[in-house]
């Protein structure tokens, strides 16, 4: 898997993959070379997930029927 793939996967999928990687590493069943690859991918997953979490926000827009079909406009959520 490339770095691009890491960015495309869903957060939950990334976490689950990370969980599996960690379990595999902890078992010590992999060859050293494979374990290095797993570790590298794990680090990439952690980084992408961190970025996503820190960028998290709630965006709200309104959808209405306009004369030419549905129209979307941004709404500021009253927090």
């Amino acid at each position: 898997m490339t770095k691009r793939d890491v960015e495309k996967v869903s957060f939950e999928a990334a976490l689950q993959e990370l969980q599996a990687l960690v379990a595999k590493l902890e078992s010590g069943d992999e060859t050293l070379e494979d374990s290095l690859k797993s570790f590298e991918r794990g680090v990439a997953l952690v980084r992408v997930c961190e970025q996503r979490l820190s960028a998290a926000e709630v965006r709200v827009s309104q959808l209405e029927n306009g004369p030419d079909g549905p129209v979307e406009s941004s709404l500021e959520p009253d927090a």
């Binding site: 869903s10 990370l18 570790f39 998290a56 709630v58 827009s61 309104q62 959808l63 029927n65 549905p70």
Partner: protein
Amino acid sequence: MSQLPEVTASDVIGVSDLVALLRETFEDAFSDLWVEGEVGSLHRSRPGHLYFDLKDEAAQLRCAMFRGAASRLEFELEDGMRIRVHAKVDLYPERGSLQLIVSRVQAAGEGALRLAFERLKARLAEEGLFDPAHKQAIPEEPRRIGLVTSLQGAAVHDFLRALKVRQADADVLAVDARVQGEEAWREIVRGLHLLDAQPEVDVIVLTRGGGSLEDLWTFNREEVVRCLFELQTPVISAIGHEVDFVLTDAVADMRAPTPTAAAALVAPDGAALHQRLLALGERLQRAQHARLRDARQRLAVLRVGLAQPARAFRAQLNTLSAKLNALSPLAVMGRGFSIASRESDGQVLQSATDVSVGDEVGIRLLRGRLRTAVVAVQESE
């Protein structure tokens, strides 16, 4: 027989005229009434008109509700239901009978709604609308969350605040719809269809705050329930408080007891995810360190293992080399012996007769070599 006064033709009116007169009088006097009573002898005609008696302990009146009005009924009428009708009095000329022409119906108290609710629930359940087999899974991380609710209501506020509290990464597309009153169901159905047609919306939340059974009735309307059933997009119904249960809850792919709970269903808890991520990151580092340490140890063991055979080999080599050394002719010559050979062909001499006088003989010493000539041959000592 008593004597009746003479009646002249001018004092007499026809039945039609009287009925017309009565009709006019009633219509003027009783055109805008709310009448409460119990439904009886309910009958639906083929074109969709409804006919029933409205009665109490002592009296009853025939009622007609024409198709247009009947189609706007918020719940289905049942014999025995207590209702209030908005009606005008009409005189039906062909039979000379009085009837109420009903334009609107309200439930009188919760009993009627309760009954209507139970009946509709049973009928739709029979049809399979609430069957778990029809339920779709709610996506874990929706790209866009469709929201149908009143943008003036408390529910939208609760829902969005809950998303923020969870530090959710959420993209909400809201459609404003009234959530109470006669027209509410139309706006809700329209909003649901609008969102269902948006390809990026992969879950829809239908929500409103708490209220009485009557306030929440829109969410028990057959039109709304059927609309939810037909949506392509998974839908969550979050109506009222924990104790409120409406039919949209039964038909939706998932029910949330409150708008806040609905937020929890569509958006993972950001803070919790962060904790989980941190823990996994730590385990990853620790596992890798352990793995490397393990590899280093194995390498050390292998190195020792590699050294072992080499040492044995060297010992063997020493033995061999000592033996070899012992056998070496050089060792013999070290003790003063030398080797003589015929110079012409290099043949090592073992007997004096191997050469003749005048032959050249080479003598190999411990150090250096001599070339000699034979002066005499003595066959034995």
